[in-house]
């Protein structure tokens, strides 16, 4: 695996390989000494053009537990007109000898531009780009669903027939897009539940069903319900009339949680707006996987960095899809 830019381009075999390596990584994390020597001498740069403490520390923990050297680079100003350009930054990192660059950017496509421009030879991991994709988030979500369903017997399994409902602002959500592609590649059946204003205008090609009615989706008893964060700035753009109305129609409150079968999972990529898209008791209930998602995030990111930085093994096995 040369880069991880999206889940759209991952084959089922590639996705399962990452998830299985993440299982190995998770096993090492229950040991007393969590640190592995695998990436000693390698340099991982966390290049964050957008603030995201959670994602950055998750990647940082992942890299450090594999003994890589980590440089955190918080860059401000993304365009040519304001300060340092993506190109200049990339060339600086190249000159410093970065082996992998984990990039978070407010512009959709920035990681691909970085990976394909020839400015840099390092592998690129997309840590969230604009409203495009957030592949490691989807991988940790899939890992979490698989772990809950199959436990120690998770390795090499897909999510065939698992019904996942993703609820909220799909239009602006990179998490939704990455989950859509990955979950369907793994065989899951995806339903998107959104206000009609918060789904792209043409999603006929997406491997998902779209509903506007959350109760209708929950009545089917899905195996997992994934709530998306509502960005409060969307309020000003008139995507929906008020917080209260949004919460009533598309929020996961206690009454709705009670409709779900006992083993249905409630997921959220965080940070949560408690009381808006998810009620406190839904977030804190035993069916909630919110904290497991955080823990699994480190294992999944260890797997991605490992596969990216330990040569072409994965490509040799499965062929580069891109």
């Amino acid at each position: 695996m040369r880069h991880l830019l999206d889940t759209r381009g991952l084959s089922r075999a590639q996705a399962l390989r990452i998830l299985d390596v993440a299982e190995d990584m998770a096993d090492t994390q229950s040991r007393e000494v969590k640190k592995l020597p695998t990436l000693r001498g390698k340099t991982v740069v966390n290049l964050f053009f957008e603030d995201s403490t959670r994602t950055r520390i998750s990647f940082e923990a992942a890299a450090k537990r594999l003994s890589a050297d980590v440089i955190n680079f918080a860059a401000k100003g993304s365009s040519v007109s304001k300060g340092e350009s993506l190109k200049d930054t990339a060339q600086t990192l190249e000159a410093m000898g970065a082996d992998a660059v984990v990039v978070r950017h407010s512009a959709s496509g920035a990681p691909r531009t970085l990976a394909t421009s020839g400015w840099i030879s390092a592998g690129v991991v997309n840590a969230g780009d604009g409203t495009h994709e957030h592949p490691t988030q989807a991988l940790l979500d899939a890992f979490t669903i698989r772990k809950r369903r199959f436990g120690a017997d998770s390795r090499s399994r897909g999510l065939d027939g698992v019904r996942v409902v993703i609820v909220g602002d799909v239009l602006h959500s990179r998490v939704a897009r990455s989950n859509l592609w990955l979950l369907s590649t793994l065989g899951a059946e995806v339903t998107l539940v959104t206000p009609p204003t918060l789904i792209p205008q043409d999603v006929r090609a997406w491997p998902a069903r779209v509903l506007y009615d959350l109760d209708e989706a929950l009545a089917e008893g899905p195996e997992a319900v994934m709530m998306l964060r509502i960005q409060l700035e969307r309020m000003n753009a008139a995507f929906f009339p008020s917080e209260r109305e949004y919460s009533r129609r598309w929020g996961l409150d206690s009454a709705r949680v009670e409709m779900l079968p006992g083993d249905s999972l409630v997921m959220h990529p965080g940070p949560m707006n408690r009381g808006l898209e998810i009620s406190a008791d839904a977030a804190d209930s035993p069916r909630s996987t919110v904290l497991e998602q955080v823990a699994n995030g480190v294992s999944v990111r260890m797997a991605v960095l490992y596969l990216l930085l330990t040569g072409e093994r994965m490509d040799d096995e499965m062929g580069e899809k891109r």
């Binding site: 993304s78 040519v80 350009s85 190109k87 920035a110 531009t113 090609a205």
Partner: protein
């Protein structure tokens, strides 16, 4: 003092081969076995002879943005593409919204010598859309402006648009509208559709163009004036223009070469060379604009040549500038999209790339048929050639072409402007006419 040129064996638009003699700025003779006494003989065997091409929509960037293009470099690009006249859009710095600036633009064109530069005046002061610029002063100036446009911005206020349409009737002008509803396209990055949904880029919906066109044709009808629609890009826009023309409304429309050939699928790699406004649309839109051009609904092809420095494209997609250079590639792209597909004959190409734009822009001395006594503005094109388009084919100051690396048919071999060659056997002439 121009030299005499004789093009031997050129293919006229009827399909016949003939010799064309150019002397003293006019086409002196057309026939077979013309005497070459005193003339430079050019072997033009089989080259398609077209009237010099006229671009109604060019951004020359001077004054103000000379890092991207100048009048000299832009008209050199024009000559390389077979153009003998270009209409210069007013979004310079300062904006061409006064007699002084349009006269400066005209003078720069005359000094360059590669093509006629006909300035377009801004509709509103500073292209801000708030109050009319001194359209009459520009019309009466030495630049004789007849086309007015706020291109880059839409004249969005319906009352300002109405007044502009009414006012230009006083001097036979036309308002060329950049049809884009600003509210519906806030932050827009690419065509809104299946591809934008996947890429997570803010969509530029077709309706933002179509709703303005619908309003403007009705305004033009109401006040009895003439409207020109710039760079029409959607199937719905073609339908609206077709409807308006059928109704007798005085509307003309243009399409760019890139909207005739390229689709939004090209955005998938986030390569900002493909970022343009209006954006590349869907396959069905491309087919619809081709059909509209073939049946005369769309009157002309205009390049929207929009040079940008490399750093404006070598960046993440949302930070990149909109626009593509197009003068050098336009004829070859029209050849591929319209002639190779059987939708247009070379006679039609002469109409949509020369006669009709000159007529819409009220530009004398251009777009006339190749006939004895007519001004010597012509282009000789090798329709049998085929080659990969490279940066070496670009003769302006900027290289933001979407065609670099792509195979295109044809090659422009000769461009003759005011009786002298500006492009000779594929090479730009230095100090043409000197």
């Amino acid at each position: 003092m121009s030299e005499a040129l004789i093009f031997r064996g050129a293919r006229l638009l009827g399909g016949d081969g003939a010799d064309i003699l150019v002397r003293d700025g006019v086409i002196a003779e057309i026939g077979s076995h013309l005497s070459s006494a005193g003339a430079r003989v050019v072997d033009a065997d089989g080259l398609v002879a077209l009237p010099g091409l006229v671009d109604l929509h060019t951004h020359l960037r001077e004054p103000g943005y000379e890092a991207s293009e100048t009048v000299l470099t832009g008209t050199r690009a024009a000559a390389a593409g077979g153009f003998t006249a270009v209409f210069a859009m007013p979004n310079t710095s300062p904006v061409a919204d006064s007699a002084g600036v349009v006269e400066q633009e005209l003078a720069l064109g005359e000094a360059a010598g590669y093509a006629t530069v006909q300035p377009i005046g801004a509709v509103t002061v500073g292209q801000k859309g708030e109050r009319l610029a001194e359209l009459g002063a520009m019309a009466s100036s030495r630049a004789k402006v007849r086309v007015f446009s706020d291109d880059g911005f839409c004249v969005w206020d319906p009352l300002i648009m109405r007044r502009a349409l009414e006012y230009v009737k006083a001097f036979g002008g036309v308002v060329a509208q950049h049809a884009q509803d600003p509210r519906l396209t806030e932050g827009a990055q690419m065509n809104e559709g299946a591809v934008s949904a996947e890429l997570g880029l803010t969509g530029w919906p077709a309706v933002a163009e179509e709703s303005i066109i619908a309003r403007d044709v009705l305004l033009a009808e109401h006040v009895g004036s003439r409207l020109h629609v710039c760079h029409l890009s959607t199937a719905g826009s073609v339908d609206l223009i077709r409807w308006a023309k059928k109704r007798g409304i005085a509307v003309t429309a243009e399409v760019t070469p890139h909207h005739l050939l390229l689709t939004d699928e090209l955005v998938r790699g986030y390569d900002a060379r493909f970022k343009v406004n209006p954006p590349l649309r869907r396959e069905e839109d491309v087919l619809a604009v081709r059909e509209g051009l073939a049946d005369g609904t769309i009157d002309i092809v205009a390049t929207d040549h929009a040079p940008h420095p490399r750093e404006s494209k070598a960046c993440e997609w949302p930070a990149a500038a909109n626009g593509m250079v197009g003068l050098e590639s336009a004829l070859r792209v029209v050849h591929e999209a319209m002639v190779e597909t059987g939708l247009l004959e070379w006679t039609d190409v002469a109409r949509v790339l020369s006669a009709a734009p000159a007529r819409i822009g009220s530009l004398a001395g251009h777009g006339t048929p190749l006939a004895v006594g007519q001004p010597a503005e012509l282009t000789l094109y090798d329709a049998e050639a085929r080659g990969t388009f490279t940066e070496a084919d670009l003769r302006g100051r900027s290289v933001n072409s979407p065609y670099v690396g792509r195979a295109l048919p044809g090659q422009v071999r000769w461009t003759v402007h005011r009786g002298y060659a500006t492009l000779a056997d594929g090479a730009l002439v230095e100090e043409p006419g000197a």
